[in-house]
Amino acid sequence: MRESDPFEICRRQDFGSCDSPGTPSKGEFQATSFAGDSAFFSVQNAEKNEAVQSPLEVREPEQEQATTQDIKFSDETFALVQRTIRRYPEGRQKSALLPLLHLAQAEFDGWLSAPVMDYVASLLDIQPIEVYEVASFYSMFNLKPVGKCLIEVCHTSSCWLLGAEDIVRHLEQKLGIKKGQTTPDGKFTLKTVECLGSCGTAPMMMIGAQFHENLTLEKVDAIVEEWDGKGERSRYC
């Protein structure tokens, strides 16, 4: 689970475990909903090419007048989507959900808004709820906007043994934010994550699909400065 996960309340391990010795439960209620994340609720139905109604609209009628935006993959991505779906037997197209969500996240600003998830549901001919429940389960899917450069520092054992805490502290100071936050200019989001399979080259962090290993504070500085000058968004795929 990521720090900024708006679905935290519906996530498994935090259910009702409030009565703890010491520190309070992580699962404090957040007044976030799908609706709060986006201002538009209509998407295009891929096949019929007409606007479909999101079930969310029923819950948030006052938002109905909000701007409508057409959400559609580029032709190139759409071809990739078709190819991905064909990897699975007839009637098993739902299997393509994870790859499609990655593509959607890469194409639509690095996070999954409700309309984007509804669009993916329409492509796979499944219910939107089937997409929401999956998107909220996996920690690589962002359900809130993230900065252009998403920095994820591993803080599990091997990385911790070699100074991950120093890296996090240094980044917090340098960026002027706490972990889990995004800089006001929307450039950087800083997160801590669990083991990313680079324990032999610890400490490490990831930016988009790029692993940065054997980190030193100087290396971190250089990487941050490079991203500061870049206009583009870090991408997983």
Partner: protein
């Protein structure tokens, strides 16, 4: 390039054999699953149900999320064709016309490498219809995960591959009977499938000649932590642990000439052992890198080979703080279906945090022991146990350190928790 070095020769050989004969060779080789549980691969294959007219699947587990483990990444990155050859040979033995490699989401660049290798294999007629004129058809695809450790558990992996949340299934039915889309399925680790290639090449008996006792063959060990030469090492099973840690051929000893304190020998889930028990068994025999030797003494004085994630800690390491990173990890990754795991992992994380913060009491240590003891055997999948074992082992072998945290909270602040990044000197 791979073929120039004798690649895909095993495939040619295998396609000339009867599928059952391949399973037989794998049985003879004594190969045991490299994903963590160490279950004999040939036996697993022979359990596969073969009802008429129902497709069978081979699924390769490349989720690799066990903290301390990074060997599959290395294998796929450096020799992707070895895995693909293994996938085709294994699928032929199992009669599977389709296979999937499920890779963790963070390894996106490895996915690209695998996809490229698969394209090359198709172009060379090694995948697709009528492979090398044998009449065997096979398609292999890579599926990407999205950051969930639990999807390494085989039934959760299958759920995820079906496009769902990674909630483990109740067993039975086992995947061999009802797996992917309710069809018979074999799930094997990357390293296991890759090992099938040399087994076919040299024959099961010759492979069984490598290693020691029932720990046959070689194993990739991911070595990390306070050692001079972290990295992935292929060892013949049976190498003494002492040699593995200190020889220049492997880890090259402890950094900065420090003394060894403890080792987590097989990935975060296995019990941690203090120096005297990792180098020698309770009976004083040298401990070897093998399933049996590491397991010697049960959990009282032994541990497990697990996935081969070998994390080494030097004399100054805080065992409690290291345990906290594990506890936080398991709390984060529990899927939440079973109360003992969902709640227990949260309790363990919070109690350890409280102790670390110097706010704990001696009763909290007992409470922690109590919580961990109530998880094992009461959950759907082994993640619950994987979360409890490290806690139990840390208290078993390092109780004095926990007590120090609660009785001398000020003094403990002087204990170094970790290395400073730059100078690799005590903080």
């Amino acid at each position: 390039m791979y073929r120039k070095h004798g690649g895909y020769e095993s495939l040619k050989k295998a396609l000339g054999m009867a599928p059952d004969a391949i399973v037989e060779e794998v049985k003879k080789s004594g190969l045991r699953g490299r994903g963590g549980a160490g279950f004999p691969t040939g036996m697993k294959w022979s359990f596969l149900a073969k009802p008429e007219g129902v497709p069978r699947y081979l699924v390769c587990n490349a989720d690799e999320s066990e903290p301390g483990t990074f060997k599959d990444r290395y294998l796929m990155e450096r020799i992707p064709h070895l895995l693909i050859e293994g996938m085709i040979v294994s699928s032929f033995a199992l009669g599977a016309n389709t296979s999937y490699i499920y890779i963790r989401g963070e390894y996106f660049y490895v996915l690209r490498i695998l996809e490229k290798a698969i394209d090359e294999a198709y172009a060379a007629g090694l995948l697709g219809k009528n492979i090398l004129g044998s009449g065997f058809d096979h398609d292999c695809y890579v599926q990407i995960g999205a950051g969930a450790y639990i999807c390494g558990e085989e039934t959760a992996l299958l759920e995820s591959l079906e496009g769902k949340r990674g909630n483990p299934r109740l067993k039975p039915p086992f995947p061999a009977v009802k797996g992917l889309w309710d069809c018979p399925t074999v799930v094997n680790n990357v390293e296991t499938i890759a090992a099938v290639v040399p087994i076919i090449e040299m024959g099961g008996d010759a492979y069984a000649g490598i290693g020691i006792g029932k720990s046959t063959g070689t194993k990739l060990i991911s070595a990390s932590g306070h050692i001079n030469k972290p990295g992935v090492y292929e060892i013949e099973l049976g190498v003494p642990v002492e040699e593995f840690i200190y020889s220049d051929e492997y880890c090259g000893g402890i950094r900065n000439g420090k003394d060894l304190k403890a080792v987590v020998a097989g990935g975060s889930s296995v019990p941690i052992l203090p120096k005297h028990l990792i180098l020698k068994t309770a009976a004083g025999e040298p401990r070897l890198m093998s399933y049996e030797s590491l397991g010697d003494g049960g959990f009282a004085t032994g541990t497990m080979l697990g996935s081969g994630g070998f994390i080494v800690m030097d004399e100054d390491t805080s065992i409690v703080k290291n345990l906290y990173t594990f506890a936080r990890f398991y709390h984060h990754e529990s899927c939440g279906q079973c109360s003992p795991c969902r709640e227990g992992t949260g309790w363990m994380e919070r109690i350890i945090k409280k102790i670390l913060d110097g706010k704990g009491t001696l009763a909290d240590i007992d409470l922690l022991w109590d919580v961990q003891s109530k998880i094992e055997g009461k959950t759907i999948c082994p993640l619950g146990e994987a979360a409890a074992w490290p806690v139990a082992a840390a208290i078993r072998h390092f109780r004095a350190e926990f007590e120090e945290y609660v009785t001398r909270p000020e003094g403990i602040r002087d204990v170094r928790h970790y290395y400073r990044v730059n100078q690799l000197e005590p903080a």
